[in-house]
Symmetry: C2
Subunit: 162 residues, 2 copies
DNA sequence: TTCATATCGTTGCATATGCAACTAAAAAAC
DNA sequence: GTTTTTTAGTTGCATATGCAACGATATGAA
């Protein structure tokens, strides 16, 4: 990732522009690309699978014996069902998770994390943790981190079903 | 996009967790997904191409006659050259941009926006503008928007080459 | 019970993205 | 001037994602 210190790309060319919200939006958009790319690259360089795998493993690791129905996972991680189905394919191929037929619902199955999956998530965490440290904790003050948290929470809650 | 009001998914299960930066990270990650998805969906529902097309058209629209070399575009939008090459393929197929041989560098070409491209960007903007209004301006106070801008700026500058 | 409808999950197809290899031309080294 | 190295851009391949259609089961209504 090699960013040039270019002038900020504003979203419009129309007059009376840009509004403040538009500047904030463009920065948010770009930071998402840059920061995620940094974290993904760190994981990859350490020989680990991408963040989406971590998310899935984490959700399953929270439900040790029981496992989770696919649609339950879909509610937790932001993936629609067909993508989730194939993400699980990939993890199952690596023996990190396991599909088990569901005895209360013949249509579905229950996804359980394997011991190998548990170990994988555990091994990924230090890298992930350090990456978060680098992209969030180091550049910002405590106050800024609190503020960021509050703002993101506000933005998210606006779009959550009640 | 149908988000459940689920408990926040924290990134780790390790003890003494989570640090504040980790909460902020997870919220940032998720809000980026959600907000971008909302904006992309609005564009799509209005019959328009995705944000990446807008970005490219905008950069070119800023250089009306001259056009831009592909590597110059690559510096402005965050795309590596092979993806950019194919993005331009798609836009060229829709006659929104045009590849012109570069007379000062036989290897490269100059990308110019067409009149149709200019019109397309102009037509997309009201939808995009309204989407930004909805996901950023409406939920946040002016103060929060300023704060968000400052924080994103800080996060980004940390990872820019000097 | 039976039929219509909704839900769970998978698959085929089109598109998007990352990586590595490649062509061609420019720039640098000699 | 010739050779080597870098740079610009494209293409093939593997993978990832969105959409629509599908099979199978569960749920609700008559």
């Amino acid at each position: 990732m090699h960013l040039q210190p270019i002038a900020l790309t504003l979203p419009s060319m129309e007059k009376n522009r840009p509004k403040k919200a538009e500047i904030a939006w463009v920065l948010l958009l770009r930071s998402q690309q840059v920061l995620i790319d940094i974290v993904e690259t760190k994981l990859k360089n350490a020989g680990f699978p991408p963040l989406s795998w971590y998310d899935l493993l984490l959700e399953l690791d929270r439900e040790p014996g029981r496992g989770l129905r696919q649609y339950e996972i879909g509610e937790r991680v932001l993936l629609n069902k067909h993508n989730l189905s194939r993400l699980i394919d990939r993890l199952e191929k690596q023996a990190l998770v396991q599909r088990v037929a569901c005895d209360t619902d013949g249509r579905g199955n229950v996804i359980k994390i394997t011991e190998k999956g548990v170990q994988m998530r555990k091994a990924m965490w230090p890298i992930y943790e350090q990456a978060i440290q680098e992209v969030i904790a180091n550049p910002l003050t405590i106050k800024q981190i609190d503020s960021l948290t509050e703002i993101m929470d506000t933005l998210l809650n606006r779009h959550i079903d009640v």
